[in-house]
Symmetry: D2
Subunit: 380 residues, 4 copies
């Protein structure tokens, strides 16, 4: 059985695993207060284009606390957490007051696949109304627009009884989205601008960020994210690490005391250095050749190859995705046949005889796996 069912089917990229092996018996302090985390933060800051002084500074917890007060796009603060749901709920908790909710796409991960983690922190998730995927071109699936945000905020205050309604307090988007689509730089700039005009922090879920950065169609850099978002994260769990998400905060009000929230919500790993070791390995060597970006390019180029092969084999795309997730309409008997050798994820029904399924590639996908799948498709 070859698995295309998710991008977290394997362990860690061999280079990242090797870094863990090499440092295994070193003794360090806990809770990410160690030299590996300091180094990884410095490497990430450089990749973000952060001011040299910030990146150059020793970057321990005391420094993090000091920097938090003055955090901004040029002096962001970096923290490491373990997984996506944990990171989402901690970040959102840091942004909102109790009467506020988070605007997002109806398909946003926080709205549909986190067992109410955000509500369990006391906050209503506010899916933007009127988003009907079926009436949109593919490239908008899973996305929201600056205009929708603007309308939602204005609609809130237009209601005379607005204190009876949850106040929009921030915006959540995913890059890439849960449908594999990506925001263009122009779209992100418009969203960021409307958020700032309404005083709403913008949070970007980057659980699969590597696969956006690695897409040939992408025009949004890490540096751009740092300028446009108040808080975002660079996902590791789905991009080559055993686990780990690197949160970047540019808004000092959110950065303040963030480690307390990490601890309270169970996101402060005792052996925090494991996160530093992994992210350190992922952001070397410095620049466009770093492993993190390389893994993203690997997965998305294979996904594009897979997509092209599926189309050539006569399959209908549900979405023309530029990243590592491909959503395809498959005839049921064909799906059953392929399913004997290849794992993929059922997504939704398309019609009585067809389903929509998802194929994922990842940093770990060997090109031969894609070839095998395409060959089997041709046979069928």
């Amino acid at each position: 059985m070859i698995r295309f069912s998710s991008d977290y089917s394997e362990g860690a990229h061999p280079k990242i695993l090797q870094a863990l092996i090499d440092t295994n018996m070193d003794q360090t302090g806990g809770y990410s207060e160690d030299p590996y985390c300091d180094l990884a933060k410095a490497l990430i800051l450089k990749a973000l284009g952060a001011a040299e002084d910030a990146a150059a500074a020793a970057y321990g917890p005391e420094q993090a606390r000091a920097l938090a007060a003055g955090a901004d796009a040029d002096h962001p603060v970096v923290h490491f957490l373990v997984g996506g749901t944990q990171t989402n709920l901690t970040a959102i908790l840091a942004c909102l007051r109790p009467h506020q909710g988070v605007l997002c796409a109806p398909t946003g991960h926080i709205n549909v696949h986190e067992t109410g983690a955000i509500e369990a922190c006391g906050h209503k998730v506010l899916p933007l109304p009127g988003i009907k995927e079926e009436s949109l071109p593919y490239r908008h699936y899973g996305k929201i627009t600056a205009e929708q945000i603007d309308q939602a905020v204005k609609a809130h205050y237009a209601d005379g009884a607005y204190e009876h309604i949850v106040q929009p307090g921030m915006v959540y988007i995913s890059q890439p989205t849960e449908y594999g689509t990506i925001y263009s730089l122009e779209e992100l700039k418009a969203i960021s601008a409307v958020c700032r005009s309404h005083g709403l922090p913008l949070f970007i879920d980057g659980a699969r960020l590597g696969y956006a950065l690695g897409s040939a169609q992408n025009d949004v850099t890490l540096r751009d994210l740092c300028q446009l978002a108040d808080i975002f994260y660079i996902g590791g769990t789905k991009v080559g690490m055993l686990f780990g998400e690197a949160v970047v905060i540019t808004n000092p009000a959110i950065a303040k005391d963030f480690r307390y929230l990490m601890k309270q919500k169970g996101g402060m790993l005792a052996k925090g250095r494991l996160l530093g070791v992994q992210f350190g390995a992922a952001f070397e060597p410095e620049g466009a050749d770093c492993l993190y970006l390389e893994m993203g390019r690997h997965a998305t180029s294979l996904a594009q190859k897979l997509k092209q092969g599926l189309v050539e084999a006569g399959c209908q795309l549900f979405i023309d995705s530029p990243t590592n997730q491909q959503f395809v309409v498959l005839e049921d008997s064909l799906a059953e046949e392929i399913g004997k050798e290849f794992a993929f994820e059922p997504f939704a029904r398309y019609d009585e005889t067809h389903g929509i399924v998802r194929f994922c590639t990842s940093w770990a996908t060997p090109p031969e796996h894609v070839d095998s799948l395409l060959n089997r498709l041709k046979e069928l």
Copy 2:
């Protein structure tokens, strides 16, 4: 610098790391729905003395759901989480209704070192009153008694206005405690009995359980815990793994839907098989020689050697601990001198010229590290 400052200073035991290396590129499903987790659960169930049919059964998520309904001491359910705070809050959340609180020692980890994680779930932590460590013999430090629990529950209902007061809803203890002391089987039986007489679930925090099980003075087995607790966990983070806690549930009301709570609170690891691989390696070979127990014995025997050496060097023990944590009274200038080469943790002031400090050994401590420390002490 040699570190005795905590029991999570290194990575994983070489055998556990090797298991991760060996399985790294295997493809599996996520969220602990994989063969490694199934195997690890079966091994743990055997170690718990669970009924053979339970242990023999394939132990996937569907089975877990089915078993949850009928869970009991002979048919416990096992789940894997990432870290201690996360495990504590998820377990406590599973036990309580909203108006209930958790009885514990004033020094309980949930009361003092988790940034209000339990309160953030809506529940008051109820430290038992009248516990004055200074008036107790060492071996009671950090512990509570069946009698104290009984009195607290009776006092609650004796107040006519009891609906104005948080209702005691469960009991939390740690084995070993935060002071390194351990409950005897007799003490645990009494606590379990009083909990059952009042309908209170008993939760045992086993973050360092290996170091209780490995203590020469311990008479409480894993099988006993399974009979006496409603829910407890076998800690991995502090006992030889990169991270990981194995929760054992014997009470079906708590076991029901536990995976939903794990997910909501960020405790369901995407690459859950990493937990299964590690716990699988730790519980092999079956029986008293398994790595988990072996690591516990290693750390506690070195800690006893360290304790004896400290006493011989003229140091006063603050607690005569039978496990891997040793609390010692050190003269300040002596502490400063030792601190140049050895890391340890300041715990509290003792008097104007002395402090209480903690030395930890672990599965990773080489005997030579203890020798070095004791030799340096003799020199000074």
Copy 3:
């Protein structure tokens, strides 16, 4: 200015106010532990058709606690709270475990007009999908069906990853709904049956219950509610009292310790006897002539007269409501003109030149107010 803008524009019905005046200087215990509350509970129990022994019993807090354990449709438990949002959140909190949400209509009060009060208790509100008012006959507006509930629950468990999704844990409906429509006995029986088949408690928000009971089209009695719901309330704030909601619980798991939740959430009034005095006055004399039902009939009959007049004056009904709220399409200039003398509530835009507005009658509406409005309409 004559107000039709809400059904809580005045104080209390004169008979209820008189009862407060008559008892003002009596001394009683607090927190609804007093003879007035006992009497009111006994009167309500009789109106519910509860077993004579339950109603006959002295009904103090100790009895309430004892009865809670055995509560059922024939032996319900009654509690008094202050207002609607508080009652909704307390009732829902009593029904759910942390990973569960509450199914409801998208227009349900808890979903749209309580500033996230349910989410602030940790629970996601789960509006049923696919409810498109515009495609339904009037009488379904604001309502949900047994079939929708059934489908939602089955859809939850059909998803293999259901632990990643909030579990439907209960059902919330309003009688009458926020649109003034009412459930028929047949509809309620079907909803109750499907809830029981899935083990979901059914909670009925009766903030305006008197106006359903008083409707000529209503065929659902208090006794029926007691048989069909697990918990519901008889609203006082909008039906003739200064404030107050009488919660009726028939499910012992929900009834257990309910007073703790009331206290914790701020719903246990210190001078609780004010609630007993008011509900006592409202449920006298016993039977169909009791003030509570009388007030309901008064308001709904005036509302029907108003509705008829509006239609005769050429206004288009938005909903053909059988209760005290009337939703009408008004041309904007007409609305402006009427608005100089009469207050009503803007509800939504209808088209470019028309709005939908709400007129409410209540227990307090003098017939002449309706006449004045209709006369003014005729003039215009």
Copy 4:
């Protein structure tokens, strides 16, 4: 039976009840957006010595929102809520971020008698350590000091692992305290100064504030509270109203969006004008003769008379309280005998044959009730 068991045994002061009667059938908007609330707020602002422009301004919800941004000691914002627990939890929620807790006396109402209402909002209550009533002079019972607050904050940051511990985020005190004692102006100034030096909002629970203001020993005015606290309330439930607490906020960060929190937590009364009518009546006529202060003087002078009589009858005071609550040591058989005719509240055991009991006077206590009690004591 004559009741001295609480200060909420009766309904409302006749003048306040009359105001409710006089306005009963007036029609107004809901949720405290009405002229009665506006007037009451203006009267309270004058009593607080607020700037004339603030008090003179029409004071509706729109104004409240506008003023919130600029709130300060000279321009405070006033809101009305229903009861004490609700007010405490809403106020504290408004002050804290999720990782923060509230410092208070161990005997603080929020710590012991609100069923975990604060924890249910996610926040740990942090009773100050080392407060041992038995070693203090009477007048300190139930109180905390500026020094204790200062030490607690410094101790928090002195711990290197402070992110693992709940951060002190505000201070809660009661005036008068739960023991009937009062803070002097000097003490309050010191507490306020230390709070401001650490950036901690100071919240004063004034559920019985009238009985502090009315005490002959009191030197703290409403105007002082406005200068010293960030948020406090003027209690009505225990001081002559059916229910109601007037919250005063001087800190703009707390004042912002406060009405959203009121609504979410069930504290926004539909018929909000009932609160305005009552507070309006209580703060007339303007100045020292206003009913609110008069009620306070009435109750405390009778309580002093009662205290003197108790001492003369040979009873031992547990506390020499200057307000309306008197705590006395009574021999058990004497208590039993008195209890046949007079209700009072058992507080704690004193020794084997004596208990501590509480007698309360209130605005409603007739002088003859005190005489009767004292006469009966003399007989016994």
